[in-house]
Symmetry: C2
Subunit: 404 residues, 2 copies
């Protein structure tokens, strides 16, 4: 009876949010015995713990009463300035601190952008597959999803143009660098072409870029934002650059959109966390962030390469794997007779967990894919885990062969 | 043309959020020359800066890598346990840690509860006046507001019952203790009666209680939650108890609602700030919070009393003021010929700012009220500020008399 009480009262928008397999297995994945390729967790061994502890102490001593008070909803100005300077220089882009808004991780940007733009039944272009957290954030606003194929160098732009022409699109969402879950990055050409389409059709893009600085060789090409500044909101995150526990992300907006974004955000939580913003700014200005990023990228590149070697060594030949140039994930495509939902049930019993592909689709597709995280397991674990996945795949193939 | 681009794309839900006078004048109020009775800022002189600095240092040293990682979306378990224990003991209520969810201030609870319950055009009962941040958070979900009068001992319950009977209410919202903006607290009897109505009509209440611990003598009566546990979500906040910069609030939910609240919250920002949760828990378990609260309450009671004396000394006799027993605000009712919007324009020129009453109504009413914050100004400022407000009121009364 009590459950029914709430069942009757819960809103349509809430009911529309899909469950998160990732979150529901994170408890299992947190079990120390379990080998987890499931989460999107950075390697905690690379967190600058000592430096952040020093920063915490310094800023509390120097500015305690200010830091502990309510604060501006757009974020700490010197941190916004730091972000603007870094990316103005990195990509020779026109970014001022006033265009930068600090958020609770870049995830909050997804929620607020959806709140700003999406009426019920408005259409959103998503890549197929797409980031699960975006699917969930957008679903709460009950849009229609128009999905475009993710190719080796980015989204299928013919399908994007078809959407702009015939599907009354309100917003497009992309992860251009080392996409979660596929690991795919857009080519420079595709970025330019997409920017052209946005301008031609007067469309708006949410360019979600949490892995911008997690690039194994050199830098990713400039963001789409550079080529269509008025048509793009470009997000970034300190979760992968420094540490997720800070919960500090940001978005670079067209200036006209800033007051609207601000107003929509204020009503959800007043202002971003001031303590961690000050800590972060102190850390960034008292340490060499590029040295720190180099350390992360060397380590992740090794882990990625090693996982690819293990995949090649153990998996059946008819399994395809993406070759990410950054980020945290490899994406597998399995032969038709292996369903990844079934596979994970089996590997869980053997102590290995990953995320089955259908979490990253809005329509139940994706059973032939799995997402593997390579940043949060040691070499021995990677080998053992991939071997177990391979053995279970072979078992399943044998069984289906026998049944057939 | 660029502005038009966004004008055309912004959603109906966003357009429905009213602007915040409070936020828009906070820049002005932040001006050091200005005497501000406008914000809802705690007195920063009372923040336990040294203790929190020590806590920051300790938790970073002891648990750095854990604190800096992604974390559970429900919050840090020991902190949830601390909250459950404190209020189980304080009110002899049945609260387990599993019913407590940590949020980014209690403001986030308002957004998530609205997301969970409110379809477009669902009806919400609000007190008249009501907390501006709640009006804004709810407005983003486009409900209808059904407003009930705030009396000296709480909401008019005949009007509430009339709403339950005839207006298809989805949710009721109340601030039972030292309400923002009126300073009014519910009597014990009214709490019991409202609890009875909730159960009788199978209704759900969001009991927003950020001022629970800001009580000048003894304690406020037990929350409505105690008398109708299945029908109430009860929020609290460390913003007034410790410091707003932590951005740590919470909600105590009926157990069945926890997984729903959690899922809706995850999609907005993944998890609450782990660093400040650890800091706070360390602070709470290494210091005497009751001694700290006693210090705050003595100071605020003095500031409140002094402001009341000044109101009596300077204001025209036909102005009424509430006599809060806690919290941070006094609410004035002006004679009919003084419009508070006009008044604030005049006092701003003389260096004094407050919030005009219509910010706390959803229908443009309230011009005969003003909200005064008493926690963030010294005695000399309070006297000077009230004197200026009184002079401008007298000017306005004279002018309207002449016109009449």
């Amino acid at each position: 009876m009590k459950n029914q009480f709430f069942e009757e009262k819960l809103s349509g928008q809430y009911r529309n949010i899909p469950p998160s397999f990732v979150r529901s297995i994170l408890n299992v994945a947190g079990n120390k015995e379990m080998i987890s390729f499931a989460g999107g967790l950075p390697n905690p061994g690379l967190f600058p713990v000592k430096e952040l502890a020093e920063s915490a102490q310094s800023v509390m001593q120097e500015s305690g009463p200010t830091i502990l008070q309510y604060a501006g909803s757009l974020g700490y100005y010197p941190l916004r300035e730091w972000i603007a300077n870094r990316y103005r220089q990195k990509y020779n882009m026109d970014i001022s601190p006033e265009m930068v808004v600090i958020t609770n991780g870049s995830q909050q940007v997804l929620d607020i952008m959806a709140k700003l733009f999406l009426n019920k039944n408005d259409s959103v272009i998503l890549e197929k597959p797409s980031y699960l957290g975006a699917i969930q954030a957008f679903s709460a606003y009950q849009p229609n999803f128009y999905e475009v194929d993710m190719e080796a160098n980015g989204a299928n732009l013919m399908q994007v143009e078809e959407g702009f022409l015939n599907h009354d699109i309100k917003l497009m969402y992309t992860v251009p660098n080392a996409q979660n879950p596929s690991g795919i990055s857009y080519s420079e050409e595709k970025r330019l072409d997409l920017a052209m389409l946005l301008k031609k059709y007067n469309q708006f893009l949410l360019e979600d870029d949490p892995y911008n600085e997690i690039c194994f060789e050199g830098d990713f090409p400039a963001p789409i934002k550079k080529h269509a500044p008025d048509n793009v909101a470009w997000t970034g995150s300190f979760s992968k650059m420094v540490a997720p526990g800070l919960r500090n992300g940001w978005v670079v907006l067209p200036p006209e959109l800033v007051p609207h974004f601000d107003k929509a955000k204020q009503s959800t939580d007043l202002n971003p966390n001031n303590i961690t913003q000050y800590m972060l700014f102190h850390f960034l200005t008292h340490n060499n962030i590029d040295d720190h990023l180099a350390k992360i990228n060397i380590k992740y590149a090794e882990q990625c390469l090693f996982m690819q070697q293990m995949l090649k060594k153990y998996l059946p030949e008819n399994v395809q794997a993406t070759q990410p140039s950054g980020g945290m994930f490899i994406w597998l495509t399995l032969p038709g007779n292996i369903c990844s939902d079934e596979l994970v049930k089996r590997t869980l019993k053997k102590g290995v967990v990953f995320v089955p592909g259908n979490s990253f689709f809005t329509n139940g597709q994706g059973a032939e894919h799995i997402r593997l995280n390579f940043t949060n397991a040691g070499f021995a674990e990677i080998e053992k885990g991939i071997k177990i996945i391979a053995e279970e795949m072979e078992e399943m193939q044998k069984e289906t062969t026998v049944i057939a």
